[in-house]
């Protein structure tokens, strides 16, 4: 009979079950705790930018927005374009900021990176990102194209969110509604620029988006009582104003269709429902289109079409009241 060998090693120590339980605990404990805790957030990001990219930055947190000011010796070259060496530094700061906001326990929603030319402090580059978008990109829940569309990039003189002269600089908290309104406007501009089917020669000069809370407006009627309204204003180039008068019904439908698709895409993409209506002002149409949230939903579900929305009979309805619209 083969006897069980007497183990010379202290197997009680190597009690496999306990041992692996212990290892498991270590394994999971390894996942505990943020890398950049709330109280060291600003220091961590400043040191990270300095250590890894050699850039001195100023960091500030206002509410749920983190701001990073990057003063650069030469933001623009002699042709007024971004200097080539600025790109690497800026990329590094943006990456560092993304890393820090992802691994902190501070409740942040947005970050804004501002690159400022030390020579001409009024020239600024603003980058605004919604932090949840960065997480979703990492989870593979967002495409790179959509991620790029969700980022707000502004470049120009005196954009205003920061003032580099002040120490510490002044940062305004980014509001979700405003972020979305701006994003809708940016997307619309890009869409109209890329849309080949628009009437030849027609060019949208600019698109502005803003969110007006209901308390700031008095003439909206009963529908806009809870949250507020997205207002998007499209402007055409002056030389084409005359051309706009020749737009037909079909062109109107196209413009409104594209606009509404973008509005729906953005608001649905963020699951945002804290609004009452959307107003779109086209340069060639006298009256603005105001669609209540319910009507927008009906349009999304294809219960009402563009023709019905553009019907002059319906303009008189208060904010395109969904019930009345369906009754008609």
């Amino acid at each position: 009979m083969r006897q069980k060998p007497v183990f010379p090693l202290p197997l009680s120590f190597l009690n496999m079950r306990r041992f692996f339980l212990f290892l498991g605990c270590i394994f999971f404990l390894a996942g505990c705790g943020p890398t950049y805790p709330k109280d060291k957030l600003i220091t961590s990001l400043t040191e990270l930018c300095k250590k890894e990219y050699g850039v001195d930055v100023s960091v500030q947190v206002v509410g749920k927005t983190l701001g990073v000011m990057v003063p650069l010796d030469k933001l623009l070259d002699s042709t007024l374009k971004l200097s080539p060496d600025v790109g690497d530094k800026l990329d590094g700061v943006i990456l560092a900021t993304s890393r820090v906001v992802l691994s902190t326990d501070h409740p942040l929603d947005f970050y804004v990176v501002v690159a400022q030319d030390k020579r001409i402090p009024g020239i600024e580059l603003h980058l605004t990102r919604y932090i949840q978008d960065i997480r979703r990109l990492n989870y593979g829940d967002l495409s790179r194209t959509e991620y790029t569309k969700r980022m707000l990039l502004d470049f120009g003189l005196g954009l205003g969110a920061f003032s580099g002269k002040e120490e510490p600089f002044h940062l305004e908290e980014v509001q979700m509604e405003q972020f979305l309104a701006t994003q809708i406007a940016r997307r619309m501009k890009t869409a109209f620029e890329e849309e080949p089917k628009l009437k030849e020669g027609l060019e949208i000069k600019s698109v502005h988006g803003k969110f007006i809370p209901h308390r700031e407006a008095s003439d909206w009627g009963s529908a806009d009582k809870r949250f507020g309204r997205f207002v998007v204003t499209l402007e055409a180039r002056e030389q084409f104003i005359g051309l706009l008068e020749t737009l037909g019904k079909e062109d109107e439908e196209k413009l409104l269709g594209i606009s509404l698709e973008i509005v729906l895409e953005v608001l649905q993409g963020y699951h945002f429902s804290a609004f009452d209506s959307v107003e779109i002002k086209f340069p060639f149409i006298d009256h603005p289109f105001v669609l209540g949230r319910d009507v927008l939903e009906l349009y999304r579900r294809k219960k009402v079409g563009l023709a019905e929305l553009l019907s002059p009979n319906n303009f008189n309805l208060p904010s395109y009241d969904a019930e009345l619209l369906l009754k008609k």
Binding site: M1, R2, Q3, K4, P5, V6, F7, P8, L9, L23, I26, F27, F28, A30, G31, G33, P34, T35, Y36, R99, L102, S103, R135, N138, Y139
Partner: protein
């Protein structure tokens, strides 16, 4: 029982030798875990959490991949993985002591001697004797060879590795010899740690048959496996490893390769034969002790009734009788259940065949003829049962067995067998004037015996001695035209065969005419009861005032 303890100075090394693979695997896993933790801790918390969040799904996916791999492997390679765990049978749970070994006294004594040699190895070496390296257990199936091997291992108090020789063989070339090497490596390792190890190879003939050498190389794999076994056994150096190989086989000695049997390999053979009367009694007592049984059962009678039965047969009889008793709703096993079990094993299951009254009567007389003739004329056998219930191909049967083992058949016994065989025919003819083809098997038996008496055993009365079958063309492998026997000689031998049959026939006719009353009585009893047991048969003979008339048994 002395518990084997490893030699202190060898403990760590033996532990490493035995568990080398396990140690490497555990160490690698630990290393991987440490590196994983290290890696995780160096990640920023977001990426760390993301990695950890993916772990469960990774584990599930790995499990699915592993399951798919195993499934494909099993599909592709048949029993591929199933074999891994079966290569060695752990004897750690085997606990067979000398007291458990019954029914093989002589073999046991020899085995005990071997065990004492294993234990006194040091003393033996001092004297200069040689340790037993191989032990071959030979004998018929079911006689306890494996059991004896287990007892040897238990009593010697050393590790025991068991493996069936058939497990060495696989469809892949070279696997057999590789397994032999691994097995011996393992045995040597254990021997290193414990001082000795028993390696038991069951059904040795699977790899131990005489090697064949031909140009086609058909048996090459078996030869290679056996060669490896020869090398391993011969290569054992008693200074390094005290591995005792025990082989067990049913095959006759001539079947195994001569190289295996030479001194230095299987240099000691133990014949494990069928038990004798006394041993059978012990076996019945032992196995009956494992079931609840009627205390009035005569174990001696059971032993007498089970001549030529192996221990496994006896165990089977007890198990079968317990099943029968359970089926009948009894709490204990009775003699009748044992008798039925024995009969079921020997004669097969009963099955009801519809017979006409006439055919039933013929069958009853046929069997009664056998019974009466056997009782009066057979020198060695007793009738244990007569029946006219069909079993297998037979419509009726008279079950008889020798009262004691005979290893040779005397002339009287052979003649009595012939007479008993012819008795069914005589009884039918005597009572009905005609006979049936139901005598075919009886005639075959009678003819074979009569022919063998004359042609092979020199038991004829015409003076011919010798085994004439050796001179026929069929036996010598030549065609019948070249056989060495003249037609005249064959004629005379056949005439002598016929004369024996005729003499026996006459004697049986005389007996049955003389004992017609008792023949009628048994036929009627069988028609009424269908079956008669030993006791009933004896009672009827006593009642009729009859006793056996054969001469006292003696081998010729």
């Amino acid at each position: 029982m002395p518990k084997p303890m490893p030699i202190k100075s060898h403990r760590f090394r033996m532990f490493f030798m035995m568990h080398r693979l396990k140690i490497i695997i555990i160490f690698s896993i630990l290393l991987l875990i440490v590196f994983s933790i290290w890696g995780l801790m160096s990640l920023e918390s977001f990426y760390r959490n993301m990695t950890l969040a993916q772990l469960p799904i990774s584990v599930i996916l790995s499990g699915i991949s592993a399951a798919v791999f195993v499934f494909m492997y099993l599909i592709g390679f048949g029993r591929g993985l199933a074999n891994v765990g079966k290569r060695t049978i752990k004897g750690s749970e085997v606990d067979v002591k000398w007291s458990d070994v019954i029914g093989m006294e002589e073999a046991k004594i020899e085995a005990m001697e071997v065990v004492s040699l294993m234990k006194d190895r040091a003393r033996l070496k001092k004297i200069g004797g040689k340790i037993v390296r191989g032990l071959l257990l030979v004998g018929p199936p079911g006689c306890g060879k494996t059991y004896l091997a287990k007892a040897i291992a238990t009593e010697a108090g050393i590790p025991f590795i068991a493996m069936a020789a058939s497990e060495f063989n696989e469809i892949f070339v070279g696997v057999g010899s590789s397994r032999v090497r691994k097995l011996f490596d393992k045995a040597r390792t254990l021997a290193y740690g414990y001082g000795a190890c028993v390696l038991f190879i069951d059904e040795l003939d699977a790899i131990g048959r005489s090697r064949t050498f031909n140009m086609f190389g058909g048996a090459q794999e078996t030869n290679t496996t056996q060669n490896q076994l020869l090398v391993e056994m011969d290569g054992l150096n008693e200074k390094d490893a005290n591995v005792i190989v025990i082989g067990a086989t049913n095959a006759a000695e001539g079947v195994l390769d001569a190289a295996l049997l030479r001194p230095g390999r299987f240099d000691r053979k133990i014949f494990v034969g069928r038990p004798n009367l006394e041993e059978r009694e012990k076996l019945f007592t032992y196995y009956l002790g494992k079931v609840k049984y009627d205390a009035t059962i005569d174990v001696g009678r059971l032993a007498r009734k089970s001549v030529y039965k192996s221990p496994a047969d006896i165990e089977n009889i007890i198990k079968e009788s317990a099943l029968i008793a359970t089926r009948k709703g009894k709490d204990i096993v009775e003699y009748k259940d044992l008798s039925e079990a024995m009969e079921r094993i020997d004669m097969g299951l009963k099955h009801r065949v519809h017979m006409t009254p006439e055919e039933r009567k013929i069958t009853a007389y046929h069997e009664s003829g056998h019974l009466v003739t056997l009782y009066f004329l057979h020198p060695t056998d007793d009738v244990f049962k007569a029946s006219i219930i069909a079993r297998g191909e037979a419509l009726g049967v008279v079950h008889h067995q020798p009262r004691e083992e005979w290893h040779t058949d005397s002339r009287d016994k052979l003649l009595a067998d012939i007479k008993v065989s012819l008795a069914g025919y005589v009884a039918e003819k005597l009572k009905f004037g005609v006979t049936s083809n139901g005598v075919a098997a009886d005639f075959r038996n009678a003819m074979a015996k009569a022919s063998a008496m004359v042609w092979q055993y020199g038991m004829g009365t015409n003076g011919f001695l010798g085994d004439y079958t050796l001179l026929t063309g069929f036996t010598t492998g030549r065609d019948s035209t070249n056989d060495l026997l003249s037609d005249q000689l064959k004629y005379e031998l056949n005439m002598e065969t016929n004369r024996i049959l005729q003499d026996c026939l006459k004697e049986v006719e005389g007996l049955l005419k003389k004992e017609e009353k008792i023949l009628d009585r048994f036929a009627n009893e069988l028609l009424q009861k269908e079956e008669l047991e030993y006791d009933e048969i004896e009672a009827i003979f006593v009642e009729c005032g009859k006793s056996r008339s054969f001469p006292s048994p003696s081998p010729s």
